[in-house]
């Protein structure tokens, strides 16, 4: 049998949309039609292989409507071409491609209407070239779009009815319409399922990428470690990163960077830059030179238009010294020990812009001594993040947050700051990354003031035997050691436990007064404590070198006055048998003398 040509018909024939419910002779077929509809609906719903199901469906339709042949056309992704994906009966034109508006199929798809062409020979525009070539005689055509609501994805076309006058009826058209819609729904569902599977696959890959990215970040350190960081991606992967690692000499190499853009391309460049930093940072300890090398590498292979802003540096925990280079990044904030903020603006362009901008010595460096202060490095995801009222945090807001959380340990403070932006009710606007370097001033202070110094007796001093002489700086953190030395001395002098405790309390309170009121909390003052002992008394001398205090204003608290403060002097007078401010020594400062009588009954 010759193959039929479905294409090549013009659509000038009488077109009638079927609207009537089947009547008369059609009624006996009606229940058959319903059965077919139900059968195909079930096939489509249960289908795992949409192509196979469509093939089977088309064959059923062709048989049921007594057509000689049938073809199913689908619009391609562009919506400009119709392709025959399935055939049945005597037509075999699978793979045939038409323009989106060609022939009766194109007309039906374009206008989303069903067509019946009873006699193509009466169509003046009907091109019979293919028919002549194949020897097939096309008499009548039935075509219905496959559409759900306004979305048309193709059409089903049937040719030549077997038997009778070989012409299709309106009832045939109506049935084909119903079947086409059902097929359309099945195809749309199958496509959606496919898209979902693809989406899942991409998501899994992103999750893997995110995991790799997280592994590029340094491990969390104990609270006492001076450097801590946090990185929260706005999407699944991040264009930000930070890193820090100790060098062999005890210094810590650190960096924080922001890749332009978000998403996968930024994440890939981030991974590359992070690896370059970690690798080169182990051998190049000059931040300016290190950033210049990384810049050269990125420039060599960077994708056009992408760049990286970075702060890279080296911190020495022993001295508090920081050397850093800033390549186009948001200025880090230095919060010094006195509470003042200093911004450290970029002095070089971002990495990946131009290798020519780098001079021989590398990127310009900034040096600073933290001296017990804290350095905050962060991306604009922090300062441009939204706070509760919908406004941006900004640098001023960050400063305030830092001050509010000053009492917290460095990692807890960092968490508190981040929590302000990263709230449950609000998606992150941008990747959020921050690094904190908290210098504990102690190593440096210890170098200046070797803790509590025990001064040996010079043998002079006469009748009152010197038991203990200490020199220490006016810092609260020295008092614990002073107390334990005083306690041991009191016991040596024969004091009972309670008396020892009392002496410790009085001396501690006296030292506090010197630190707080004489030196006004200035940490570099010097305090000398002497304890002498004879048979029945301990004599304690406390010397400082601060401005001479007006002793008239020092008085114990009224005891019925319950309020914080003023207690220390009361304790001293309560515990000691004698308390006296001695005349100010010639070289300035203050001298306090306290005497405690020791009862030997115990």
């Amino acid at each position: 049998m010759p193959k039929a040509s479905i294409s090549g018909h013009s659509v000038a024939m009488v077109k009638q949309a079927a609207k009537k419910i089947p009547t008369g002779g059609d009624v006996e077929n009606f229940s058959d039609h319903l059965e077919l509809l139900a059968l195909m609906g079930r096939d489509f719903a249960a289908s795992m292989d949409i192509e196979e199901t469509l093939n089977k469906g088309l064959a059923r339709i062709t048989r049921h409507l007594n057509a000689v042949g049938g073809a199913l056309f689908l619009l391609d992704e562009t919506g400009e071409k119709l392709c025959c994906t399935s055939c049945s009966g005597d037509t075999e034109i699978t793979g045939l491609t038409l323009g989106g508006d060609e022939g009766i199929v194109g007309y039906c798809v374009q206008n989303n209407i069903a067509e019946i062409v009873r006699d193509v020979t009466k169509d003046p525009n009907f091109q019979q070239a293919v028919d002549k070539q194949t020897g097939f005689v096309t008499k009548s055509i039935l075509c219905a779009p496959m559409s759900v609501h306004d979305q048309c994805i193709g059409a089903i076309e049937l040719v030549n009815k077997v038997g009778g006058d070989g012409l299709f009826s309106e009832a045939d058209l109506q049935l084909l319409q119903a079947l086409s819609s059902s097929a359309a729904l099945a195809i749309i569902n199958a496509r959606m399922a496919e898209a979902l599977v693809e989406q899942e696959r991409v998501k899994r890959e992103l999750e893997l990428a995110a995991e790799i990215q997280r592994s590029l970040l340094p491990d969390k350190r104990s609270e006492s470690f001076p450097v801590h960081g946090v990185n929260l991606p706005a999407r699944m992967v991040s264009g930000d990163f930070y890193d820090f690692f100790p060098l062999d000499d005890g210094r810590i190499c650190f960096n924080l960077a922001d890749v332009s853009g978000k998403g996968m391309n930024a994440a890939l460049l981030m991974a590359k830059t992070a690896s370059l930093f970690r690798c080169l940072g182990k051998t190049i300890h000059e931040p300016g030179l290190l950033l210049a090398k990384i810049n050269a590498e990125i420039c060599e292979t960077a994708t056009r238009g992408m760049f990286v802003t970075m702060v890279g540096g080296v911190y020495d925990p022993k001295t508090g010294h920081v050397r850093l280079a800033n390549a186009g990044h948001e200025p880090p904030l230095f919060h010094d020990a006195n509470g003042a903020f200093t911004a450290l603006p970029a002095e070089a362009p971002p990495l990946g812009i131009s290798p020519l901008l780098v001079e021989d010595g590398g990127f310009p460096e900034t040096e600073l001594d933290l001296k017990g202060g804290t350095l905050y490095v962060f991306t604009d995801g922090l300062t441009e993040g939204y706070v509760e009222d919908g406004s941006e945090l900004q640098v001023d807001g960050l400063k305030k947050l830092i001050e509010e959380n000053a009492a917290l340990s460095a990692p807890k403070r960092l968490d508190a700051i981040i929590a302000r932006i990263n709230r449950d009710d609000q998606a992150l606007r941008d990747d959020l990354t921050a690094l904190i370097i908290e210098d504990s001033a102690q190593p440096e202070m210890l170098a200046l003031h070797p803790g509590v110094e025990i001064i040996p007796s010079d043998g002079a001093g006469g009748e009152k035997q010197l038991k203990l002489k200490l020199k220490f700086p006016s810092q609260p953190n020295r008092l614990k050691l002073v107390r334990s030395l005083v306690s041991a001395t009191a016991e040596l002098c024969g004091c009972g436990q309670e008396a020892s405790q009392d002496i410790v309390l009085a001396i501690d309170e006296a030292c506090q007064n010197v630190i707080r009121h004489a030196y006004k909390d200035e940490p570099n003052g010097e305090i000398i404590l002497e304890i002498r002992h004879n048979e029945d008394e301990m004599i304690i001398l406390l010397r400082d070198f601060a401005k001479t205090v007006d002793t008239a204003v020092i008085r114990p608290r009224e005891l019925d006055d319950v309020r914080p403060g003023g207690l220390g002097t009361h304790f001293i007078r309560e515990v000691m048998d004698e308390v006296a401010f001695m005349p100010p020594p010639e070289d300035g400062g203050n001298l306090l003398k306290m005497v405690k009588r020791i009862s030997h009954e115990t």
Binding site: L479, V504, L505, D508, I515, V562, R563, G565, L567, F571
Partner: protein
């Protein structure tokens, strides 16, 4: 100084452990005020106190006064000998409500 905060029967129990001195009392004050600000009865367990000075006592007084202003309960439990001596020296042992055990304290402030 270390601290630990727990909650039992809607009572906040804060334990201060170690030395509360000029160095650590700002932290002690902060902790105590945070507990008071929870607006629940507060028990301060002082069994682990080795040393407390006037600044530490001042923190306790401030917390007590803040709690009382709000009609909140604030009491000390298991006060160590050293801490009790300092409270006695300050004549504050009668100002603070002091319980020997946490259970007594819970019964007393609930």
């Amino acid at each position: 100084m270390k601290h630990d905060i727990t909650e039992k029967n809607n009572v906040t129990i804060v334990s201060l452990v170690g030395d509360v001195d000029l160095e650590s009392s700002p932290e002690a004050r902060k902790i105590l005020m945070e507990c008071v600000n929870l607006n629940r009865p507060v028990l301060v367990n002082l069994s682990g106190i080795g040393y407390i000075d006037s600044s530490g006592v001042a923190s306790l007084i401030e917390a007590l006064q803040t709690a009382r202003k709000r009609d909140g309960e604030f009491a000390l439990v298991k006060v160590s000998d050293g801490a009790l001596r300092v409270l006695q020296l300050a004549r504050l042992d009668k100002i603070f409500t002091i319980y020997d055990t946490v259970e007594d304290g819970l019964a007393g402030v609930s």
